[in-house]
């Protein structure tokens, strides 16, 4: 099967007055049609910078994106702004963590959704309105014709997230990037939005790139998981593999850090992630690892594959270390 999206050696850095910030330090992964891939990482691990770089959505010009982002075998990084405009929204949709800051506060909900139909599809007002109401209905908004006239501040967080989803799905994209879509929502609303996302994915035949910091959300929702640490992928595996047989010490300790209901002391991960301003030598997790090797100091580990689909960036997984 050919991948819908293939990312090769992606690096993202920001130029600031006090030196470069290396947000993403060489990431490779691929996403297949109809698949749900989760990217998990703590704050500062580079997961959001990675998401934004796929569609080049940075508001600053001092960002440098290198590597390849192949969408249907075409490198999006070589596209002009205009060419990319045809990809954004139509081929690849995106939703964000905080719907309030991505919806226009001075425009009614209906107008914001209709905008796309006017400019992209040159629809008439009536046809666009009809499509919009249909979309609002599809994302489970009750009393769609009333909400159509409302403004973002009149809606609750869950409703706003549904509106953003409606905008992202307006042109039935083949790929949806969801950057922490439920982090700002309450538990009961989070469950509603996730099951809606799942249902719409199946109806539209979309691939989903689901970015989150919450490993426990991933279990029932995704097929494959990629764990990021300090701008790099440390482990990638099918979801059950990852929870049952984690290989990288970071993944192991992340899973151990959650309470298990036995009342014992939690396993802490001592220390802090490395400073993103400094170039890395050796393994990024080394200062927090409890079983480092000599080589971890000198050389950054590549991704080793133990099973066909299970990869981890740890020197302990190198076949030579087994002897």
């Amino acid at each position: 099967m050919t991948a819908l999206l293939e990312v090769k050696n992606l690096r993202v850095s920001f130029k600031t007055n006090s030196g470069n910030i290396y947000a993403v330090r060489g990431v490779d992964f691929s996403l297949y049609p109809n698949e749900t891939l989760a990217i998990v990482g703590e704050s500062g691990s580079g997961k959001s910078a990675l998401a934004l770089s796929l569609l080049r959505l940075f508001s600053t010009t001092s960002v440098k994106v290198e590597g390849e982002v192949l969408y249907r075998q075409q490198n999006l990084l070589t596209f002009s702004e205009k060419e990319l405009g045809n990809i954004r929204g139509q081929e690849i949709g995106m939703i964000f963590q905080d719907p309030m800051s991505f919806l226009n506060p001075t425009m009614s909900i209906g107008k914001q959704i209709m905008e796309g139909f006017y400019y992209r599809k040159k629809m008439t007002r009536l046809a666009a309105k009809e499509k919009t109401l249909e979309l609002l209905h599809k994302v489970g908004i009750p009393r769609a014709s009333y909400v159509f006239m409302q403004y973002p501040h009149e809606l609750s967080g869950g409703m706003k997230q549904r509106v953003m989803l409606a905008i992202a799905l307006a042109f039935s994209p083949k790929l949806l990037i969801a950057d922490e879509p439920t982090t700002a929502l309450d538990a009961t609303i989070q469950a509603q939005v996730l099951s809606l996302l799942k249902q719409l994915q199946q109806e539209n035949g979309m691939s989903l790139l689901f970015i989150t910091h919450d490993l426990s959300l991933v279990a029932g929702f995704c097929q494959r998981v990629v764990v990021m640490y300090a701008g790099k992928i440390v482990e990638s595996a099918p979801v059950e593999e990852l929870f049952l047989y984690p290989q990288h010490p970071y993944t192991k300790r992340l899973l151990d850090a959650r309470p298990k209901g036995d009342g014992k002391l939690l396993h802490e991960i001592p220390g802090m992630p490395p400073n993103p301003r400094q170039p890395l030598e050796g393994c990024a997790f080394l200062p927090r690892c409890h079983n480092p090797l000599q080589i971890c100091l000198e050389k950054s580990p590549p991704l080793f594959s133990s099973e066909e689909k299970h990869h981890s960036a740890c020197w302990h997984q190198d076949p030579r270390s087994f002897v």
Partner: protein, 317 residues
Amino acid sequence: MNWPLLEVKNLSLHFMDKSPFIKVLRDLSFSLEEKDILGLVGESGCGKSTLAKTIMQLYIPTQGDIVFEGKSLIGASSDTLKEVRKKLQMVFQDPLSSLNPRMTIKEILREPFVIHKIYGNKLQETERIVELLELVGLQESYMQAFPHELSGGQRQRVGIARALALRPKLILCDEPIAALDVSIQAQMVNLLRHLYEKLQLTYLFISHDLMMVRHLCTQVAVMYLGTLVEKAPVEELYLHPKHPYTEALLSLIPQVEPLKGKTKIHEAVQGESPHPSQALQGCVFASRCPKATSLCREKIPALREISPKHYVRCHLY
């Protein structure tokens, strides 16, 4: 000791500067025994933080009483409140906005001593500050640092050290781990547990992380729309939840055990919670409750003790 450390009786708080006025807390009662850790869970907007601030007397309640160590705090003089606040401290969710950015850590930790005129000389103060830093696992060298130079976890440690400065009995922790990463959350919860054992503290631990609450707390109270719907010892609540809202919340805890078959993400409850300004006749949860009857929509259920220490506010029990 005959009385509980903290007793909240029929507490109501209405914000009346707008019409219709907003009922933030509705007829809320519970008590907290010494050396308990009471977890307070509920969705955003249900009044958890407001409850903590009302206990601290940062809001004046519309009705009801708050009794700390047998003394009522309502209408108490500012001198009495100042004395009480030595024993009643708070840790906030966002450590950066609750620390003064223009003060060093040493100055921040010195403030309580200045306000309450604890120590006569600087040497004693500094000694105690070093002791406090050590207690929360920070090195002495951080004394001269400013809050922006610290990481989120370190800032929260400073927030905890400040709360401990006056040797309090009860600490109200308002989502102390919500803004932290998973790996740092574990450090913070272990620290809270360690301090609880070492200093014989009592906590009111506000959180929306149900797994952490189960791990840390001895009692759990569930809030919905400004009122307490259920309160029970921790294992009792997690194993035998009674209120339909508690049941719904617990069913949403993600199970990280793929061995038991793939976890489904189920929509446990439909709809969203009503706005607190809405006039409600019956039970606060009736509009979303799958088991609601006509009685639930007409009459407010009372908080009843259905088994020892297990309180539920529901017509079904």
